[in-house]
Symmetry: C2
Subunit: 248 residues, 2 copies
């Protein structure tokens, strides 16, 4: 309308409980409260902020959810270093509500695949390899139990991510993995004939990791993901249908 008329900033009165949460949060992020430090009792916060205890409590709930503070066994409140697994589940739920499609999930997995394999190859330890071998062995044992294989497949990829020893990368992949898991379970149980190929791929990936054979690792990861997509299509589902919430 009248473009030239003076525009005012939106007025938003922020409730006191938000201000309380923000004040505490700032202190944590500024490093003046470190993980493990006690935040103080509710009564203390009441005195410091000059608001009612109900208000303080509502503010604490906000922080609690984001993992910045947590109650110890003693029920006392202390600063926590939020671990990304907690946050990852929130993110994948957000994605589900956004109705992301299997196509998006698949392309993301393929985009992340080579990079993660490389990173795992560079940083894997002997323990990582042993854990992967153990997983592989159990998968072979369980090859006739589709749900168990689905479970073990999820574990396999989790171990792979852990082998990167890169927390940023793990964080980036975690929400994706959480969405992949239930889909994989569906695919495997609805068509167990893909299991031998899955085991073969896992085996080659572990072997590539062991010998630090970059090319082979990428190749088999790529095949593994293609098989995953093929299995999805075989199950008669639509690539552009939203990923559903089963189990997340």
């Amino acid at each position: 309308m009248t473009q030239a008329s003076p525009r005012f900033d939106r007025i938003k009165a922020r409730p006191a409980y938000e201000l309380v949460a923000e004040a505490i949060e700032r202190k944590i992020l500024a490093g003046r409260l470190r993980p493990g430090d006690p935040v103080g009792t509710e009564s203390e916060l009441v005195k410091q902020f000059g608001v009612n205890r109900s208000t303080v409590r509502e503010g604490i709930r906000l922080l609690e959810q984001s993992g910045l503070v947590a109650r110890e066994a003693s029920r006392r409140l202390s600063v926590a270093a939020p671990h990304y697994h907690r946050l990852a589940s929130r993110m994948s739920r957000a994605l589900i509500l956004q109705q992301v499609t299997f196509r998006e999930l698949y392309h993301t997995s393929r985009a992340l695949g080579p990079g993660s394999i490389d990173e795992a190859m560079d940083n894997r330890t002997q323990e990582d390899l042993e854990a992967l071998e153990a997983n592989l062995a159990r998968t072979r044992e369980m090859r006739n139990d589709a749900p168990a294989v689905a479970e073990l497949d999820a574990e396999f990829h989790g171990l792979l991510d852990a082998a990167t020893h890169n927390r940023v990368l793990q964080l980036a992949k975690e929400p994706v993995s959480m969405l992949v898991r239930p889909t994989t379970a569906l695919i495997i149980t609805s068509n167990p004939r893909g299991i031998p190929r899955l085991i073969e791929a896992h085996g080659h990936i572990v072997d590539a990791l062991t010998r630090r054979d970059r090319e082979k690792g990428r190749l088999w990861m790529d095949r593994h993901l293609r098989d995953w997509k093929a299995g999805f299509e075989l199950s008669g589902r639509d690539l552009d249908s939203p990923v559903d919430a089963a189990g997340v």
Copy 2:
């Protein structure tokens, strides 16, 4: 100690406000409450759950934080589809508190680089290209204003991610980008001599995207990231020092 003694599950009495939050959350995730739907007034929830209003309010705060519910202008509570930008900032803060290192950040960026470029190349629209061109032009104009260039570089990579039209991939990259941004700003302002190379890389990337030249896109993205690391080292910082919180 006595391994054979009967082990009991840990007893944890969950407070009522958590149960309230969980009940509402389940209803949303099950799809029985869809984004936009009203959750109901506090008094209604009080009646339904049979708890005090204070308790209901604490439960609401938990959900509010994770973005599952939000208050409209009318202050009434309704279900919201949490947008990942909000969550991403929480995740990057989590990473900062976990003291992740620049090395992890760098390797993650390189792991994600080729995949994102590919995906952007496949899905970019004409509008995406125009936005990137516009960003490029402004970066050239501002080439002598280091902070502005840093800002525009962040925007450039944001546009690149948007061009993938893949929400899962965007989500995966978002927390990483938020950590990259302040670091880039530091690098550029402390050594503006890198700016021409940055502009050159951006230009080639846009060109590759336009012509769908996959090889070229990957090549220049890789160079761009290597330059970024070189700039970081030039600034005299330690690769293994934690990424700091500036601006997040």
